[in-house]
Symmetry: C2
């Protein structure tokens, strides 16, 4: 395959690494990054065969043979990047992205692509580390991790995108953009807000002795429950901004659950509380075996 990667950070850089490591003779990878230094670094670690800040520097012959262009920029840059690049890419080409929300991306991206007789399929490869940038790129980042691709009437395009992510070892789930957004709101975006609210609530403790004691006694339970709430604030803001409706639905459903739990405790329904906790103990492995 001939692949273009736009945005050579952790995801884009790691994708190139795996593609070239797997089939150095069969795969060709070109890359685009705003930073000339990043382009050089990506070439140096064999994440791309060639990279440049300007698509004009990618030989026309290579662009013509490109199967898929993967937009690996931050979420806010996905649509502007497609709008800027589509006119310079050949017709029929397939464009995909790696954004963590799909409904606000897939429809407008498809509209842009249609204008140029190109095809868009949304992707969300769910892989990462806590590091960023080309220096953080690593082999096998995607292996055995889930990847969502969005359904499309153009079955050939969907299959091509599926085979791209499968070639780096991902488990593929195909669904509608709004199904993706509701599912990730439940298990990824809402938990960030739930977890952050725990940290904020603890910090509101006015009794300084109790606050200090809580900080001294906190251990693995607090560490785990608060982890995603202590993550990158910009990412948290972006997921809320781009997936507002589904996150609000999840958080409202969560408020109802929490109120029921509180009522059991308030009413001293200890048997019912134990049954409730036995249910959550039983159900958790459905999500994380």
């Amino acid at each position: 395959m001939n692949i273009g990667i736009v945005g050579l950070g952790l995801i884009g850089g790691s994708l190139g690494l795996d593609l070239l490591a797997a089939a150095p003779n069969d795969n060709y990878v070109w890359g685009i990054s705003r930073s000339p230094k990043t382009c050089k670094q990506a070439e140096a670690i064999a994440s791309v065969n060639i990279a440049s800040p300007n698509i004009e520097d990618i030989p026309n012959q290579i662009l013509e043979q490109t199967d898929i262009v993967v937009i690996c920029t931050p979420i806010a840059a996905i649509l502007p990047t497609i709008a800027a690049l589509s006119p310079k890419l050949p017709a029929k080409i397939i464009i995909t992205d790696v954004g963590s929300v799909k409904e606000l991306i897939v429809e407008p991206a498809s509209e842009i692509c249609k204008k140029y007789n190109q095809r868009f399929v949304g992707s969300h490869p769910m892989a990462g580390t806590s590091f960023q940038g080309i220096a953080a790129a690593e082999p096998n980042l995607f292996r055995d991790r889930p990847c969502v691709i969005t359904s499309n009437d153009d079955i050939a395009a969907v299959e091509k995108v599926r085979s791209l992510w499968e070639s780096v070892g991902m488990r593929i789930y195909e669904c509608l953009p709004e199904e993706h957004d509701r599912a990730v709101a439940m298990i990824s975006h809402a938990p960030v807000m739930i977890s952050a609210s725990l940290i904020a609530a603890c910090q509101k403790q006015e009794d300084q002795r109790v606050l200090q004691l809580a900080q001294n006694l906190a251990s693995s339970g607090f560490r785990d429950t608060s982890r995603v709430g202590g993550g990158n604030p910009e990412l948290g803001r972006l997921m809320a901004e781009y997936n507002q409706e589904a996150i609000l639905r999840s958080l409202q459903e969560y408020q109802l659950s929490l109120q029921l739990t509180i009522d059991l405790i308030k009413n001293k329904q200890w048997e019912e509380l134990e049954l409730f906790l036995a249910d959550t103990q039983r159900d958790r492995p459905l999500y994380v075996p």
Copy 2:
């Protein structure tokens, strides 16, 4: 020191192991367990010098020389155990416990001890694994972990209990029983309910495709946020039952925090949401460095 351990499970068994390993000639440990098999096992792994289901089997001379008796039973058995044993223990002896709540234990336990001219100091050594029983006992379980001991006018008794836990490597925090209960409600008990409510909310998803997708896509974020909510239901019930008031306070404070977070998202206050998440990112290391 001459130590009695009542309840030879993970905590009691591990405590005996460390005491005897540290000073096999200076420390003497006797144990009580309802199960004769557990007593034999505790002797076999050198967690105790001698153990029996009946305190009558512990030689009187050893009982007379005992410095501290540590009640390591499940929380519901602590007070009945002290009530049953106190009449058979010498005057002046110090009794402590390992219960994860303190207000409902310390006052009545102190009352019982007073009757026999004995001294009670509450302890909460915050150490453990996900296993139970004498077979799970392990060396160094307590090393570098926090231990709360409750303040008392009898400074000599407090110092003795402090030196016991320090001798197995714990960091000691002395406070009032209600301060302990409010702090652990914040960072340990309330998070169990917050985490369990997340699992319950997800399971209420009625769209089967979205539910299935959420279960397939859940990864480290969900794993961590849901971990304590998928734990032992009986333990969760007991912490709520014995620390009801403080847990309810913490959960109500949490509901306010969560509502503020939801309002930021509902009102599209993205800058404020990012600042809020920057605060929680900054504050989390105060609890878990």
